[in-house]
């Protein structure tokens, strides 16, 4: 994959071209943190590719909080979508979108992906503990590494190649600087997560399986959970939803169509959260996970045990947003460390 060198002016020109053709969402600096914003011609200069992931995940631009997925028994209104560009997302968000597409299986995504390397790590970042890296190796149209005096832009697809106006190839010295940024962030991640790293050969899946029936450990973990579901919603790879129907005057504006149908029935896909008490409740009131510790345990098992079975991968990308968002200060890394502690010594030695 060829790499090019771009100046700040080149980057701004690229953003200007992308904005002219569609919606571009990118990180901008706000009180020292990257937050996600739709970029306009006036805010191009605010786009910040240094630092680490945005506070909020990119998923809401692909997996909408509420999305109409069907109308029925009436003609469907024609939809018109502008091209979406996910600009500056980190490897963790890219990995989370891979989860979304694996689960939904709705064909090739229509949006463009411009990833950016993390040039630093946050105190809650732990992608290195779940098999991730602070930069993307594949799956992008373009990848950008912010250096002190410019950017390395790597193309990852023919579509990405077409987005670029002619740029000089990156020199060996510039590629060395890129490697330096990447190694530096990886070293930071190691330091930040040193205390949580397992000293034995138990991975997340094993830690969970070996504690499947250890309700005591889970009750202890759950003591701090207030069931707000912030972790569900902020998680870039939580993709649970509920289908909700509505009847409204819709696109017909209350007029009757040729078949005499007035109402438009719509079906919406709405985010849902497995920590909520009603999530697994069936008609009549029976609930297979009535206790909060069972729901929290199920959430972790989903990510580290069931998903490896179903999807062949963890559905935690180690972005650490759930740790930042948790009102009870529950830290996924501490939960893992606690589960490993609970595993009998004999199992650890196997």
């Amino acid at each position: 994959m060829p790499s090019y060198f771009a100046t700040q002016a080149d980057l701004e020109a690229l953003l200007a071209r992308l904005i002219a053709e569609g919606e571009v969402v990118a990180p901008v600096l706000d009180q020292g943190r990257n937050i996600l914003q739709t970029v306009t011609a006036a805010t191009i200069k605010d786009v910040n590719l240094a630092g680490y992931r945005t506070v909020e995940p990119y998923k809401s631009y692909v997996f909408k909080l509420t999305e109409r997925v069907a109308t029925y028994f009436t003609p469907s209104p024609a939809g018109q979508n502008r091209r979406l560009v996910l600009f500056g997302l980190r490897a963790c968000d890219l990995s989370a979108l891979d989860v979304y597409h694996k689960v939904m299986d709705e064909g090739e995504p229509a949006y463009l992906v411009v990833t950016a390397d993390c040039t630093a790590c946050g105190r809650t970042c732990f992608c290195n503990m779940v098999g991730g890296k602070p930069y993307a190796a594949a799956g992008f149209d373009l990848n950008i590494t912010a250096l002190e005096n410019g950017y390395i832009i790597e193309t990852g697809s023919p579509r990405g190649e077409q987005l670029l106006s002619p740029l000089p190839p990156a020199t060996d010295d510039q590629l060395k600087l890129q490697a330096g940024v990447r190694n530096g962030t990886e070293a930071q991640l190691e330091t930040v997560n040193q205390e949580f790293k397992c000293k034995c050969n138990i991975n997340w899946t094993e830690a969970h399986r070996l504690n499947l029936e250890n309700s005591k450990a889970w009750k202890e973990v759950t003591k701090k959970c207030v069931e707000c579901s912030a972790c569900n919603f902020i998680c870039p790879s939580c993709t649970c939803f509920l289908l909700l129907d509505s009847r409204d005057e819709g696109s017909l504006g209350g007029a009757r169509d040729e078949r005499g149908t007035k109402d438009e029935n719509s079906r919406h896909k709405v985010w849902d959260a497995c920590l909520k008490n009603g999530y697994a409740r069936v008609a009549g009131g029976a609930n297979s996970r009535p206790k909060l510790f069972e729901r929290l345990q199920n959430r972790y098992h989903c990510k580290f045990d069931y998903s490896p079975t179903r999807l062949g991968r963890y559905t935690c990308v180690g972005c650490g947003r759930c740790i930042d968002a948790c009102a009870g200060n529950i830290d996924m890394r501490e939960v893992y460390a606690e589960l490993v502690r609970q595993v009998p010594l004999t199992a650890k030695l196997v």
Binding site: V69, A70, C240, D245, R247, D263, Y306
Partner: protein, 274 residues
């Protein structure tokens, strides 16, 4: 129907042909879809009340009957409450079929031991039609069915005739008898006690309320059934029906995609699967 693409959540329009009152809280609805929808016993569909919502049910009719589909539905929540208000001529939506059917060819040459409770008789009725079509390939069919009271039994006109079918043996038991009831009295587990089943060459199929399935499963294991030979219909909250919303997860499985029928072998290691 495809599980992918834009059409995956759109139901097929269907007309309510007939409503049959089964018990005080159970009705059977006969729906005629505008497009042909076929299913196999054990698979489920989602019934839409337009503009309100949808619920998952297993059809209770004969899968060879293609033009209409029957659903036997207990009034239990808000959507089923509205379904119970449907009258002939009303429009509904149908989506599916989804899930895995009973592996009927694998039952050939064996005894099939069918145990049901309450409205769990609905999917078993579809199964019974399926078994009856293949009765020559089966050793025998034993049906043991439990109900709270004689008034709570579905298909009262049809059910007694099941026992008169070729190679089929039927016993019904009620938890509480009323004057005039001459059949068995007691939980369904009590009529499993004396059955002479060749468990080494039999499969058991169970459908009913979770608590009933839990105890019937235990009884079947005591009788010597192998976990791989016990087929259980699992009920979980479902929304999408196609393995995407994750509401119906049962350990690593999704009931809508991997089930709704599971063998005990598949789910025995999941804590409290009921």
């Amino acid at each position: 129907m495809s599980c992918n693409g834009k059409e995956q959540y759109r139901p097929v329009k269907a007309r309510t042909e007939k409503v049959i009152i089964e018990t005080s809280n159970i009705k059977t609805f006969v729906f005629r879809p505008e497009e042909p929808l076929s299913f196999l016993p054990g698979q489920f569909m989602l019934v839409t009340v337009p503009g309100i919502g949808e619920c998952a049910f297993t059809p209770s009719s004969d899968y060879k009957q293609k033009e209409t589909l029957e659903f036997t539905i207990m009034r239990a929540g808000s959507v089923t409450g509205l379904i119970h208000q449907l009258q002939a001529g009303d429009t509904v939506g149908l989506r599916g079929p989804y899930g895995q059917p009973y592996p009927l060819p694998s039952y050939h040459g064996k005894e099939v031991y069918v145990v049901g409770g309450g409205v769990g008789l609905a999917p078993l009725r579809a199964l019974m039609y399926g078994l009856n079509h293949e009765i020559d390939q089966l050793k025998k069919v034993v049906v043991r069915f439990g109900s709270r009271s004689p008034q709570d039994i579905c298909y009262r006109d049809d059910l007694p005739s099941w026992g008169k079918r070729k190679k089929t043996d039927l016993v019904i038991s009620v938890d509480t008898a009323v004057p005039g009831w001459t059949g068995n009295v007691g939980l369904v587990t009590t009529i499993l006690k004396d059955d002479d089943v060749d468990v080494k060459n039999a499969v058991a199929v169970v459908c009913g309320p979770p608590i009933m399935m839990k105890f019937v499963n235990k009884r079947l294991l005591d009788m010597g059934f192998a976990p791989k030979d016990i087929y259980l219909s699992m009920e979980k909250n479902m929304s999408c029906g196609i393995g995407k919303c994750f509401h119906c997860n049962l350990g690593p499985y999704l009931v809508c995609k991997d089930g709704p029928v599971f063998t005990w072998e598949q789910i025995k290691d999941i804590p409290e699967p009921w």
